[in-house]
Symmetry: none
Subunit: 219 residues, 2 copies
């Protein structure tokens, strides 16, 4: 993976933030205005670079149409695992935090979202007693569909050391993803539970936020 320049990263982040806030992508001129470019071509070049570096997919001929390509780490050296709680975007409540959406598939736009609103979801007191520092994540995408965790579900993440085969909330490139943890010796892989996705994702650096112990579905 080729490295992104500072401005390219900023533009990519802005695009993510924009789609997170508005649910639609910014136009080239939106980006131009945001970064005070005098020409649309400046943005155009950066978008080409982002696509060439494989982190953004443009849809030819379509306006405000892009896809985020998940950034994959390529190496196969020994994996270093860190354990970490939910991100700063989680708002603390009485006992359970809701850390925003989790990407089980491609896009995760929760990072740069500024507006957080409260919502109420009942959680049984028994599960709360079990794990006082548990938090909830809303699942987005379909990469865990074979594990019966679907888009829109809410998973309860509890801290702990994951075993082989556990479903974990892991930080990859600053984005939280829900994957099954596969341990092979000292190497660790993440596996999407969807036949249409690549089998194993090798990771050199891995941050585990917790283990998915329960899934809550709206009926």
């Amino acid at each position: 993976m080729e490295e992104l320049t500072k401005k390219q990263r900023a533009i990519l982040d802005y695009m993510k933030a924009h789609v997170a806030e508005h649910t639609y992508w910014p136009s080239i001129r939106d980006i131009q205005a945001k970064f005070r470019f005098a020409s649309t071509n400046a943005v155009f070049g950066h978008l080409q670079a982002l696509e060439r570096k494989g982190v953004l997919q443009r849809i030819p001929g379509a306006a405000r149409a892009y896809k985020i390509v998940p950034e994959v780490l390529g190496d196969t050296s020994e994996t270093v695992i860190r354990y970490e709680g939910p991100g700063d975007d989680a708002i603390a409540f009485e006992s359970v935090k809701f850390a925003g959406s989790i990407a089980a598939g491609f896009p995760d736009y929760t990072e740069s979202s500024g507006v957080l609103d409260a919502m109420q979801v009942p959680i049984s007191a028994s599960s709360r007693r079990r794990a006082p520092e548990a938090f909830a994540l809303r699942v987005r995408g379909d990469s865990m569909i074979d594990a019966e965790i679907n888009d829109g579900d809410t998973v309860i993440i509890e801290p702990g050391t994951p075993k082989h085969g556990d479903i974990v909330a892991a930080l990859i490139d600053g984005e939280t993803t829900l994957k099954r943890l596969i341990k092979q010796g000292s190497k660790v892989y993440l596996k999407a539970e969807n036949q249409n996705y690549p089998d194993l994702i090798p990771t050199t650096s891995l941050t585990i936020q917790g283990i998915a112990k329960s899934v809550m579905k709206r009926i």
Copy 2:
């Protein structure tokens, strides 16, 4: 809330599905092609109707740019049903607030109706729809197995007026059971979601404890 026509509902669902799959909205021409309209103006009119009825917000002049307005669940049925609180088999319950980003990511583009919307509406704007007296029930038995509610699961019951097709916690012979509510004219039936069980249970008097809105499963 004004009611949507069949085609309006179909178009709205298509738009939701499109943005869920592609992360960007369809153009008017995309919709036109999908529904085999001969003119873009047919779509245009439907979009205007959707906006007038308050379920869709268009961004003027911008391409592929919309916002979904969470739909309010309305039901005007006149069925006479008694409501009652939870019985002894209800699990002690504590309602916990979540905070999540509403605008973040693409909210609720999976299944059409407003089941998911309940989770997404800000607390300030939905106080009347909140469930301050929700409670949890541990499911025993397999009568709802076809609805993917299995023995050992926990369902969250919220008070409210059940619609046709809702899964309700009903009192039958002094015992709480979980069944799907079927309304046919003025008659009300209860239906077990298991092929091995009798199709419809006719009821002359019915006590509803609440509507099953969520199911929580241990992974």
